[in-house]
Point group: D2
Chain length 324, copies 4
C-alpha cells in the first residue's frame, strides 16, 4: 500500500488544519496510508511520525493554527540532516512527502528531490500571498479579514476623536495584505514595500481629504515599509500646524495570523489538499499546487523559486478612486 507523509512548515496560517484534513481524507479515499509529521522539518529529522486516519482529522476544519505543529529547524540547511530526514522517510516506507508551506519550505523540500530523488508535492500557504506561481496562498483571506475587522474597530475610535490613525499590518516584503486591507477598510493611504513613495504624498492626501470634508483618516502600512510608530511620529510632526484630533497608531500583529479560517480559506485549503493527492495518484511529483485564473492547477515545484510576485499597480489606482 502506498504511503504518503504530510507536514506543515514555517509560520502558521489559518486553513492549515483544513488542508491536512483534506490530504488525509483524500489519501484514505484513494487507498493511501497517510503519516503526519510533527513540527515540520524538525519532526522529519527526529522522526516524529504519527499515523493519520480520517477520524484523526475530525472537527478541525474550523480551527486556526496547525495541529501537526510547526517549528524552525536550522539543521535542515545541512546535507547530513537532510540525509537523516530521507532515511527516516524511507525506513518508514513513505513514498512521497506533501509539504504545506511557503517559498522557503518549498526550496528546502526541493533539496530532497535534487539530492535524494525523493518525491515532493508542495501546497502553498502564507498569509502574505506572495508565493510566485500561484494567485492565492492558504491563509490570506482570513488574515485580511482579521486585519479589516480590527481596522473597522479602530475606525470607531478614529472617527469619534477625528484622528489620523496609522495601522501597521503584516508583510515584510510584500504588500498584498496592506493593499487588500486598505481597499476594504476605505483607507486614505496605503504604504507597501513594492512601491514606495515619499512622505509628503501621504501628508498631502490627508490634508486634501480634510479639505473635502473628511474628519478622520486611516493610513495602512505594511511592516516592511516602516513601523506604524515611525509613520505616526512623522505625520504627527507634519500635521501639527493643522487642527486635528491627533495621530495614533496600532500594530495589528499576530491577530492577523490566527483565528477560525474563513469559508474561502477552508474551501481552497480543501481543494488544494484533495487536488495534490489526486495529482500524485496520477503520477505527478515534484510539483506545487496553484490557483491560476480561478482554477486549481499544478506546476513544477521550482516555478516559484527566485521570483517575486508583486501586487497589481492598478490596485493603487482603484484605491485612489475609492478614497475620494
Amino acid at each position: 500500500m502506498t504511503k504518503i507523509a504530510v507536514l506543515t512548515s514555517g509560520g502558521d496560517a489559518p486553513g492549515l488544519n483544513a488542508c491536512i484534513r483534506a490530504v488525509v481524507r483524500a489519501g484514505h479515499y484513494y487507498n493511501l496510508q497517510v503519516i503526519g509529521i510533527k513540527r515540520g522539518f524538525k519532526g522529519l529529522i527526529e522522526k516524529e511520525f504519527v499515523s493519520l486516519k480520517p477520524r484523526d482529522v475530525s472537527m478541525i476544519i474550523n480551527r486556526g493554527g496547525t495541529f501537526l505543529l510547526s517549528a524552525r529547524e536550522e539543521r535542515f540547511h545541512h546535507y547530513e540532516y537532510r540525509k537523516v530526514a530521507v532515511e527516516n522517510l524511507r525506513k518508514e516506507g513513505i513514498d512521497a512527502l506533501f509539504v504545506i508551506g511557503g517559498n522557503g519550505s518549498f526550496q528546502g523540500a526541493n533539496l530532497l528531490v535534487k539530492e535524494f530523488d525523493f518525491p515532493v508535492i508542495g501546497i502553498p500557504k502564507t498569509i502574505d500571498n506572495d508565493t510566485y506561481g500561484t494567485d492565492y496562498t492558504i491563509g490570506f483571506d482570513t488574515a485580511v479579514n482579521n486585519a479589516v475587522d480590527a481596522i473597522d474597530k479602530i475606525r470607531d475610535t478614529s472617527v469619534s476623536h477625528e484622528r489620523v490613525f496609522v495601522v501597521e499590518v503584516m508583510g515584510r516584503k510584500s504588500g498584498f495584505i496592506a493593499l487588500a486591507a486598505g481597499i476594504a477598510s476605505g483607507a486614505d493611504v496605503t504604504l507597501i514595500p513594492e512601491y514606495p513613495f515619499p512622505m509628503h504624498v501621504i501628508v498631502d492626501s490627508i490634508l486634501q481629504a480634510r479639505k473635502r470634508g473628511k474628519r478622520f483618516s486611516i493610513v495602512v502600512v505594511a511592516e516592511g515599509v516602516a513601523s506604524g510608530k515611525e509613520i505616526a511620529e512623522i505625520l504627527s510632526e507634519k500635521l501639527k500646524p493643522y487642527d486635528f484630533g491627533g495621530v495614533r497608531y496600532s500594530v495589528l500583529g499576530y491577530i492577523q495570523r490566527g483565528g477560525t479560517p474563513t469559508v474561502y480559506d477552508r474551501i481552497i485549503a480543501s481543494r488544494f489538499g484533495v487536488f495534490a493527492v489526486e495529482e500524485y495518484i496520477n503520477g505527478k511529483k515534484n510539483i506545487m499546487v496553484a490557483l491560476e485564473n480561478g482554477k486549481v492547477v499544478s506546476k513544477p515545484l521550482e516555478v516559484s523559486f527566485g521570483k517575486v510576485k508583486k501586487p497589481d499597480l492598478s490596485d493603487f489606482e482603484l484605491n485612489n478612486i475609492l478614497t475620494l
Copy 2:
C-alpha cells in the same frame, strides 16, 4: 456634465453599499454627476432622486443592506410606468442608469433599453450567486460565511448531544450557498435543487459515518429542496432503530443576508462599481459587469437572460472525499 443614476433592486445583499460608494466615487473621479434613486424601480417611477457626492457615501463600505433602500414594484411590469420612469430620468438630465441587481432586475432594466433606448449598466448582486454569465455576484461570500458561522455554532450543540442536525440554508432554485457551506462546515450530506437524490442515500451516508466512528452528523439543505423540518422528520423516522441523540433542525434564514460584508465582497463590489463607470466612460452601454476566470469583464446585458447557472458536479465529489 454627464449625469448617471444608480439604484439597488431586489433582495438586499452585503456589499451593496460598498458598490454604491464605488459608483459614486468613480463617477466623481471621472467628472460625472451621480444621482441616487431610492427604493429601486419604485423610486424611478415616483422620482425619489437624491444627489450623491463622495462624502455622502462615507463610512458605509462596512455596512450591510443598502442605504438607497430596495422595494418591490409591480408597476414596473407595465409599459406606461416604465415610460414614466424614463421620462423622470430624462427630465433630470440623466444619461445612463446603473442597476445593482439580480437577473430579474436586469431584465426589467433591459426593457428601458429596448423600448426607450435608454442606456443601462448592470452590476450583478445576489447572495445566491446564480446569475448566469458571471462567476460571482456581490453578497455570496458574506452569505456563506454567515451560514458557516452559524453551522459552527450548531455543531457545538450537535456534538455535545451526538445528534443529527439538519440546517436549512437559502437557495430557492440554486445550491451554491448550500454547497459551499457544506464543504466549509464539513457537512455529511448536502442537498441542492439542481441535483436531487433519494432519501435513502442520505440515511445511508449518516449510518455509514456512525459506523466509521463519527458521533454526530450535519446535513445542509437548500430551501428549494425541502424544508429543514421535513428532512428532519423523515430522518427522525428512518433513524429511529438506531441509538442516536436525536434529530434536530435549524432554518438559518435572514441572518445569511445581513451583516458586515467580508473583505472579498467589499473589494469585488468596489471593483465592479469602478469598472462599471469606466466601461461607461469608454463608451460601453447595455452591458453587465462580470467576474470571469478571476478577471472583471463586461458583457452584453442579455447574456444572463433565460439561462441557468449550475454548480459544478465535481464539488459533490469533493464533498464526498472530505466527509470521510
Copy 3:
C-alpha cells in the same frame, strides 16, 4: 484521597467546558481526584467514567458545548436505576457528585441525596437564565449576544426593505433571553410568556412608530408565546391597509446555544466551578452555587425547586422608553 465526580446534564450551554475545567483544576489544587462522567445521568448508570487531570481540560475554556457530552436519560426517573447510579459512584470510591445542570437536573440529583444520602453539589447553567435562587445561570450572556448578533444582521435587511421583522428567540417558559435581546437590539415590541398582552397592542406600537418616522420595526418573541411565523402572519394581515415593505420572520433557534462563550460566561463558569469545590472542601454539601447581588454564594439545593423566577416588569418600562 477524596474523589469527586462531575457531569453535565440537560441542554448544552456555552461555558460548560469552562466550568468543567474549573472543577477539575480546583479539585486538583485542593488535592482531590476528579472523575468525569460522560453523557450525564446516562453515563452514571452505564458507568462511563473517565479520570480528569489538569491537562485533560486544556484548551477548552473557549469551546462551546460540553466535551463530557450530554444525553437524555429516561431511566433516571426510576428508583432502581438511581440505585445503580449510586452503586457505580460508591464502587468507584466517589465521595460527591457535582452536577452542572438546570432545574430538572438538580431535582434528579437531589433524589440521590434523599434516597441514598449521596452528597451532591449543583452548579446552575441554562441559556434561559430561569433557575430560581440565582441571578445568573451559565450560558445566558453568550446566548443573548448570539441572538443580538443575529438581530443586528437582520436589521440590515429590515431597514433596507423598510419591513416589519419578527424574530423568534429561545425561551419556552421564560422571557429572559427575549427581554434582554429586545432591549439590546432596540426592538419595538418584545413578547414573553410571563406577561402576555393582546395583539392590537403590538400593531399599535408598530403603527405609532411609523407615525413617529421609524421606517422599520423589530418584534422579538420568545418561542413560548407563539411561533415567529404565527405572529408574522397576524401582523401581515393587520398591517395590510398600510404601506409597508411587508412582514418577515426568522427563527434563531440553535445558534443561540452554541459558539465560543463570552468573557462573562467564561469567568462566571470558572468562579462557579472553583467556588463549588471550595464549598465542598469546607464541608458543605447538597447545595447549589448561585449569583446573588453580584456575589457568588451557595444555598440549599432545594431552594430552586417548585419556584418560578420571573423577569422584572420594570424592564418592560425600560424598553418602552428606549424604543421611542
Copy 4:
C-alpha cells in the same frame, strides 16, 4: 419646558452611543428637551449644540464610538473658559448637563457645580472600569471581549509553534482589563499595576507549566506595568536555556476600544442613561449613576474623586487555580 444637555468626554468606549440614545429618549419620554453637545467640553466652550430628538439617535445602539464626538480641551482647565461654557448653557436655556465620562471628566464637570452652581449628572464610562464608586463603567465588557477574542486568535499561533506569548492590554494605572482577560483566556501569568511581582515568579510559572506538560504559555500584561516588548525580551533571555518555540509579543492597542458593544454594555448603558434622567426628574443633581451589588443607584458626584478602585486580590488566587 425643561432642557437638558448631554456630552461625551475623554477616551471613547463602546456603549457611548447606546447611552446617548437612552438619555435622549428618556428625556423625550419625560417631556424634556435634549441638546447634544459635540466634542465634549470643547463644544461646550465653542457652543456646538445640536437638538436631539428620538429619531436622531436611531440605529446607533450597536455602533462603537460616539456620534457626538470627543476631544481634548485644555482650555477647560481655566476658569474663564468654564465661565464661557456655563454662559453658553444658560443662554441656551439648559437646566442641567449630563456628562458621560470618566473620573477626570467628572472632576471637570464638578467645577461647574462648585463655581457656578450649574447642575451636573455624571454617567461613568471607561473601558478600564477603574472609576471609584461604581462596580462597572460603560465599555469594560466589550473591551475585555475584544481583548479575549484577540488572545483566542493569538493562542492558535502560540500553540502551533509551542511559544510563549506576551500580550499587552490596555490599563495604564489599572489591571481590571488584564485580570479579566487573563482569567477568560486561560493565561499562565497576568501582570497588573496594582500588585507588581518580580520577573523570576513569571519565569517560574512558565517553567513549571512546561513541566506539567503544557506546550505553550500566554502572559497578559497591563500596559502600565511594562511594555509587552520589554517583558518578552526579558523572558526570551531567561528562557534561552530551555527548549521553547521562542517568545513573541503583541500589543492589542486600540482594537480594545472600538467595535460593536456587547449586550451587557448596551443594556447597562441604556439603564444608566434612563436612570440618570429619572433621578434628575426626581430632583437629584450633582450625582453620578453607579452599579452597586447588581443594582443601578446614584451617589454624590464627589464620591469618585481622589480614590482608587482596585481589583480584588482573590482574583489572582482564582487565576492561579485555573491555570494549573
